[in-house]
């Protein structure tokens, strides 16, 4: 497990689509360990995607139980090749991103998603996530496709400067 620097925009990897990952590839679990180690070093961080720490693979870690706001959650999720199967209950909420430490944006996300992925042992999972956990997973999966939260802004009133950048999640 390593603590890696979090890449910030305009690092070109953040705008790249991550290639497919073959089931069983040992690189997957190794990157998940780095994601968790790096998340641990950023208090308040509830999710990270592999390209944010310089790995060109489809892996994310999400743990919204670390958030100060109580919400339904599955604890620490380590997900390889996550894929959303169904999304519903769309709502606009305010998000931040460690790759843009000084900005916040209002983004429309599904409040309920059903997804499939592999865990750190390359076992297949199917999960239903709701609320903030669903939002965090969509934000991280977007990173795997080179989509950043600013790309999802819908109005000129949806972008804000963060007053205290230390609180980036």
């Amino acid at each position: 497990m390593a603590v890696l620097p979090v890449l910030t925009y305009p690092h070109p990897l953040l705008k790249e689509k991550m290639p497919p990952l073959s089931p069983g590839d040992p690189q997957g679990p190794a990157v998940l360990r780095d994601l968790v180690g790096t998340m641990d070093s950023h208090p308040g961080c509830v999710g990270l995607a592999a390209p944010q720490i310089g790995h060109r693979i489809r892996a994310i870690a999400v743990d919204v139980s670390r958030s100060s706001r109580p919400c339904e959650n599955h604890g620490l999720l380590r997900l390889l090749t996550p894929q959303i199967l169904e999304a519903s209950q769309w709502k606009v909420g305010r998000e931040g991103c460690l790759s843009f430490p000084d900005l916040l944006a209002n983004v429309k996300r599904a409040q309920k998603i059903r997804l499939e992925a592999f865990n750190e042992g390359w076992e297949k999972l199917e999960l239903v996530c709701t609320g903030f956990e669903a939002v965090a997973i969509q934000h991280e999966i977007d990173h795997l496709d080179g989509i950043l939260f600013l790309d999802r802004i819908r109005s000129s009133k949806d972008l804000f400067e963060r007053r205290n950048p230390q609180a980036a999640v």
Binding site: P10, L148, D151, I153, R154, S155, D158, L159
Partner: protein, 181 residues
């Protein structure tokens, strides 16, 4: 239709500016209509439309605003909208949102706005932010715009693709998808 006044004012930001100005409108029975007020750097900028009650003239309002502007250090200007500007009847158009972000350099707003004007795309709202970045300040720009039709939207979209490379920025143009509830 009541007479409408466009007012702009700017001055050093401090608590109480909005209260002082809106008190003038309230006491003079002026109706505050569209408005946009925001902090820019250390200044507070105000743009608004007020409608005058019957019997009041633009000069009456100007006299009422002047002492308040002076007290709060606001530079202001006022203009009565001619009737043709207040009447509804704008041609139909398609609403779009444009997001541009990248490392700051001169000319981003100019090149984007120039390209929009070539296709008669009207910018109706524009916000920009400059925030710190690893390779120099990050410039982000969000515009709301009215596009005259689908052909103009396609032409503008193609030009934006070229502009992305020229300006080395990210650009997203999306139709506004209103939620029907």
């Amino acid at each position: 239709m009541n007479r409408q006044i466009a007012l702009s004012a700017v001055g050093r930001d401090q608590p109480g500016i909005v209260a002082a100005l809106s008190k003038v409108f309230f006491e003079n029975q002026c109706n505050l209509e569209d408005s946009s007020m925001t902090r820019l750097g250390g200044d507070f900028a105000i743009l608004l439309l007020v409608s005058l009650p019957g019997g009041k003239t633009p000069d009456d309002l100007k006299k009422a605003v002047e002492p308040v502007a002076q007290k709060w250090g606001l530079t202001f200007s006022m203009r009565e909208l001619p009737e043709e500007e207040t009447a509804p009847g704008a041609p139909p158009s398609l609403p779009f949102t444009l997001v541009v972000y990248g490392v700051d350099h001169p000319g981003i707003v100019y090149r984007v706005a120039q390209t929009a004007s070539e296709d008669k795309v009207n910018i109706t709202d524009l916000r920009t932010h400059v925030t710190p970045g690893a390779q120099g300040p990050l410039y982000s720009l969000v515009m709301e715009m009215e596009v005259p039709g689908t052909a103009a939207a396609e032409s503008f979209g193609r030009k934006l693709e070229a502009l992305k490379k020229e300006l080395k920025v990210e650009i997203t143009l999306k139709p506004v998808d209103a939620d029907e509830l």
